[in-house]
């Protein structure tokens, strides 16, 4: 996305400045960026095209940019009973929004605490955060913690709580916040502001770029998350979009790739399963909304980079 916008701008600027002095170097740079852009756009376009191609035409001719025969059957497969997929969208959007907000609050407050050099326990706390970045408890203890101590099994919180605090993001946040001059905090104190007020009214607004950047990352993580759902969700009503799609994919691969399976499946009919085109429709369905969300964040994204650059 960013790569795509760069050549566009450059092209717009170039004629005015360098109309007379045509530069080979510019041409080469443009070519390089055009190639990079194509390398990102072409696969995406192919995915869209294949998802709209007739199943038989894929079987006979393979993947093609220009299909012999268009067909919406892959999408029909998912939307013929829209309940499941719409509910899954609902779950995913809820988890992504609520999770991102909660996670940002936690990350920002933790990062801020660690960035305050008058906090006495900076070292042990940083170490505590840093340590969890390197070592984890493993899958089974994690499972036991969530199901037997937190009792989150089959609740939507099982999708939100585990991803709420990432040590890596805390450290990024800390890095950003420690660039904010400490004098701001001190002068606010002189004016009589308490800690909460300083955090909420001064620090958070100043950190907007980093909040937006991390918010985007966190939202991506929540959007793409399916493993926690796989472990903790049995209730069909709480299945997020990605798990629904992973399941469809897995079941298909699983069934077609295992001869043992054919052996025990006594009246098995492949016609009931989505085929190649459906896999590509899955990719579009799962990635689509994020493609729309991204540009809104991009504004902050660029700003986040420049703000960091000036201060740093």
């Amino acid at each position: 996305m960013t790569a795509k916008s760069v050549p566009a701008k450059a092209v717009a600027v170039q004629p005015a400045r360098a109309k007379s002095s045509f530069k080979w170097s510019n041409l080469i740079i443009h070519l390089i960026f055009i190639l990079i852009t194509l390398s990102m756009v072409v696969p995406l376009a192919l995915v869209i095209v294949v998802s709209l191609t007739d199943e038989n035409s894929i079987l006979h001719h393979g993947y093609r940019m220009i299909p012999d025969k268009l067909s919406f059957s892959a999408y029909e497969y998912f939307f013929k009973s829209p309940d499941a997929i719409l509910r899954a969208y609902g779950v995913t959007i809820f988890v992504a929004v609520v999770g991102t907000i909660l996670s940002l609050i936690l990350t920002a407050s933790m990062g801020y605490t660690l960035s305050r050099r008058d906090y006495g326990l900076v070292r042990p706390t940083s170490f505590y955060v840093f340590f969890t970045m390197l070592f984890g408890g493993g899958l089974v203890p994690f499972y036991i913690l969530v199901t037997q101590y937190l009792h989150l099994k089959d609740t939507i919180w099982a999708l939100i709580v585990p991803g709420m605090l990432s040590p890596f993001y805390v450290l990024i946040m800390k890095g950003f916040m420690s660039k904010i001059p400490f004098e701001i905090v001190e002068s606010a104190k002189v004016e009589g502001a308490r800690e909460w007020r300083i955090f909420v009214q001064l620090i958070l607004p100043l950190s907007k770029p980093s909040l937006a950047t991390l918010g985007l990352f966190i939202m991506f993580n929540y959007w793409n998350e399916w493993f926690n759902a796989l472990l903790f969700i049995d209730n069909e009503r709480l299945v997020p979009l990605q798990l629904l799609l992973v399941r469809t994919m897995n079941s298909l691969d699983f069934i077609t790739s295992r001869p043992e399976f054919a052996l025990v499946m006594s009246n098995f009919n492949l016609a009931n399963f989505p085929k190649t085109a459906a896999k590509f429709a899955i990719a579009i369905l799962s990635a689509g909304p994020m493609l729309i969300v991204f540009p809104f964040f991009q504004r902050f994204f660029v700003k986040g980079l420049t703000v960091g650059a000036i201060k740093g």
Partner: protein, 519 residues
Amino acid sequence: MQKTMNGKSGFRTTLLASISLGVALAAAGCGNSSNNGDASPSASASGSAGATASAAASGSASPSASSELPPVELTWYYPQNAANADLQLVNDAVNKIAKEKINATVKLSPIDFGTYEQKMNTMTASGEKMDIVWTSSWLFKFDQNQLKGAFLPLDDLLKTSGQKLYDSLEKKFWDDATLQGKIYAVPNFQFSAQRASVVIQKRFIDKYNLDVSTIKKMEDLEPFLKQIKEGEPGITPFGTQKGFYTALLYGIDTKVPVYYTDETNTVLPDVTDEMRANYALAHSWYTKGYINQDAATLKSAADVYNKGTTAVWFDWTGKPGSEVEYKAADGGNDVVLVPLGEPVFTGAASTLNAISRTSENPERAMMFLELVNTDKELYNTLVYGIEGKHYTKTTGDFIKIDQTAGYFTNTDWIFGNITNEYLPEGSPADKIEQTIKMNGDARVSKYNGFVFNGEAVKTEIANVNAVNGEYAASLGTGTLDPAKYLPIYEEKLKKAGAEKIRAEKQKQLNEWLAANGKQ
């Protein structure tokens, strides 16, 4: 200057400290898990002892007095193809039957096939409470999980709460669910035989007047393949995915590679003379252009025939009635199934229901399993859903399934004994009789009940699998010339330790034969 020095060394100590702490934690983790391993069997053993005691108590009461049993809720984990919208409705219907008969309810927890193994492994490792767990020889593996102590031994439970269930199956089925002398699961009765076959498109049989009764072995196909090659451009004469070498074709036991006729029970090496001949045949077909060019790299068996442009392909199972399924999958072309050998009993371990170690009510779980396997109404509710909503009865035992009504499993073999099932429209009327007959007629390996424990040769097995992954498909499909590559393959197998595995297998087999008085 000093500050940066401090900062550096501070970071260094932090890193060191964190690494050492991590190592310590990991070590503690290992210690813990091994402790758990020791502790849990004893704990659950006492649990099961208590359970059998109470089972005996409840068993002494007459089974009709179900109201005297305290109400319990059981859980049942099993794999499914896809989620069903009406699962809750079916679950309620199941509970109604179970409540009436054994005063128990069950929470059905289907998990899709692709993630079943991973999820069940995590749940088993964390000691989650479960009652009934589906297991098999190929997914969430029965023997491995039994070794981990995931399941309860069922011998006593079968006597006290499941006698009827025990009597409903032949011993050869129970043998497959027996490990270390104890029964650990209830096999689901289904088609459990295998017969190497070829599938031929009917249109070519008619066109070239092929007499299928003359085809007794793979070599007999050659003239027909030649006719197809010459007469049908655009048609692949013979389609295969990983080749067509199987012990079934050559009078070798499928349980342990030993010739049927061999009285000395000598375990054969990986590369047999039959395999050499088979690979040579495959290669000659491949060079003559009979075999699809992409045979060695095809991922899915269905890719061999789903375009409808393949004349003949190999079928490992040879299930009666599979012509209908092939027709549905190969673009609507009629096919004829030609069996090449006698049916062989493949064992019942391909679908089993076990009772988890963590079950709080094992005797009730057993009663429920008995009910599923003997109560026609309950079983058909699980398989087909609710009558009138998800299926309608037509004539006799035939039903018409509405696949879009919100409950469609297509997996009768997951739940229990398929002889209790209604027949979907289009299946042969004697499907059940045929299945019973084939299971009865199928050759039962004389090693039925023997399970090879690969623990001692784990590394060698991994190495051999790697070598097989590299060569077996290319040689089996004839893509590589066996004259040149078979010796290399054998050499690599030898280096990987194939002989050691064979020796270990022979040793375990001899012990098993001696222990079972078969030698």
